[in-house]
Structure formats: C-alpha cells, structure tokens
C-alpha cells in the first residue's frame, strides 16, 4: 500500500504542471514548437507572477507566447528571444534570474542557510550527551514482563 502510494505521488510529481498552450497557437514544425516551449518555460508570466508563460491562461500571456513563437518562426535564436523579453520586462520575466548584486541574496541565501544550519546541527548534536543507557529493570518489572509473554 505504501509503495503504491509512493509510486502515485512520484507519478503525479513527474506529470508536471498543466500547459495552457492551445493547439492553434502551436508552430507547425515540432522542433520549433519544442524550442518555443522551452523558452516559454523560462519566462515568468508578468500577470500571474507564479507561473511560466507556457502555463498561464491569462489573455495577455497568450500574446506573449505568440510573440515567442513568431520570433522562433522568423529564425531568431533562443538567446535573442530571451533578450527581447528581458529588454522589456527586466529580470522579473526570467524564472532563472541572473546572478548579480541585486540577486545575491536570492541565490546565496539557501546554501548559506544550509551551511549555517549544518554547523549549528553539528555542534548541537555533539554537545548533547550520547544516549543514556536505560536503567535495568527491577526484579518486579522483570516479573511483570515475563507474565505478559
């Protein structure tokens, strides 16, 4: 039962989030469509903030997807399309923001906290006395245990 549940959770996790791209938006060439989708997944929806533009159902975002696909079809490189969006919407549009002074805290806080927490945990566990051996049972307790067997 537990194994079955685990498999179910993993499967749901791997399934990923829903895609909002409608069939009529897609590019004819599957390779180009795949590139457009990969780019769209790196772009944050400015309307809904927490989704990529591939996942968002917002009307505005649909037009952003259209722009991505038009540029891919016109022969732009992935970097050119990302730059186009970055020029207009700034770092916010990139789901993977660049590493620079204003984003140092964002990138460095998780590993820094992990290291600090690790150091803290190391000293806390070392200071604590190793497990105390349980006191041996008294004869009366031993008798009670025997009686249960």
């Amino acid at each position: 039962m537990r194994a079955a549940l685990a498999v179910l959770f993993i499967a749901v996790g791997l399934a990923g989030s829903a895609v909002a791209v409608e069939p009529d938006e897609m590019l004819q060439d599957p390779a180009q469509e795949a590139r457009a989708e990969a780019i769209g997944r790196q772009l944050r929806c400015p309307v809904c903030k927490t989704e990529s533009i591939e996942e968002s159902d917002a009307d505005f975002t649909k037009d952003l997807r259209k722009v991505v696909r038009e540029q891919i079809a016109a022969g732009k490189t992935d970097a050119q399309v990302l730059d186009f969006m970055h020029d207009r919407y700034g770092d916010f549009i990139l789901l993977r923001p660049p590493f620079k002074p204003t984003t140092w805290a964002l990138w460095l806080a998780p590993p820094a906290l992990l290291v600090l927490g690790g150091i803290f945990a190391f000293f806390m566990t070392r200071r604590r006395p190793t497990t105390v051996d349980a006191a041996p049972l008294t004869p009366a307790e031993q008798a009670a245990v025997e009686a249960l067997k």
């Binding site: 400015p46 009307d59 505005f60 037009d63 207009r88 919407y89 700034g90």
Partner: protein, 178 residues
Amino acid sequence: MRRLIFIAPVLVFVGLVVYFATPLLRGTDPSLIPSPLIDKPVPAFDLPPLPGYQKGLSSADLKGKVQIVNIFASWCVPCRAEAPALMALKGMNVTIRGIDQKDRPEDALEFLNELGDPYASIGMDIDRKVSIDWGAYGAPETFIVDAEGRIRYKQAAPITQEDIDDTILPLLKKLAAQ
C-alpha cells in the same frame, strides 16, 4: 557566548520584521514590476487611428514636449475607474496620448462616448505588439514621456487624484522645467 546563542534568533527575528514591515508600511505594492524602460527612449511604433479619427499614434508624436501615454481598453474595468482622473489631467492642459490595447473599435468608441475622451490622439494596438514593446502587462498603464521622447515614469495601476497631486503633476512640472 552561551547567551549569544539565545539572543541570535531574536535579532534575526527583529531583522526580518523590519525587512517585511518596511514595504508594508510604505504601501509598496509587490505585484508591480519595476520597468527596465525607465529613462530609455520610447519604443519605435506607428499605430493606426480609431475609425473616424484623423490621427493614430506613433513614436514621432512623443517628441517635443512632456506628455502622458496611457494604455487603456474598453474591457478594462480599472480603466473606467481612472477615466475621471484622466479627464481632470486633460482639464489641466496635460497632453495625454492613448494606446487602445486589444480592443474592438466599436467598443472603444462606446467607451470614449460614455466616459469622455481625454486623449490628444489614440493608436489602436489590436495585437498587443506595441504594448509588449512598452513592457506593459495589462491595462491601465500610464507613462510619462519627456520632451526628448524618453520614458521617465511608469505606473501600472489606475491613476487616482492622489497620484496626480503627489506624483504626476510634480514630475510633469519638473520635466517641463528641464
């Protein structure tokens, strides 16, 4: 040394409270995205007019004097809310240019008929291409453009009388003096 360990979490907590409380008390809206286009020239564009109107809107119209560019649409409810504020600005002889975003011409005409037309000219941005060039992510959005055609201010929220008094008029005055 031991005492320090107990004080540290309190200090961290106080630090976090200050960090989170500052924008809350200042009234900063975290949903607003800072625009990288501030102090940059307006994007090059040329939009057609509404049917029955003489002039559309192009980047050439945004040079020579300080102006406001307002992205609006008839389907945009907050645009209705800010319509009186725009009419008030027009009454103060401020030039406002409109970009009508993803609208049907007949709906836009009805909107202007009902709420008044504060715009010196309006360009129809049917496919949102120009809105995207302006880094817009909805409507209404309002920009202040200086005499050299550079974007100096952006507000991605409906304009209120308070915005006019506290932000827009002082900035227009400052830019006009330059």
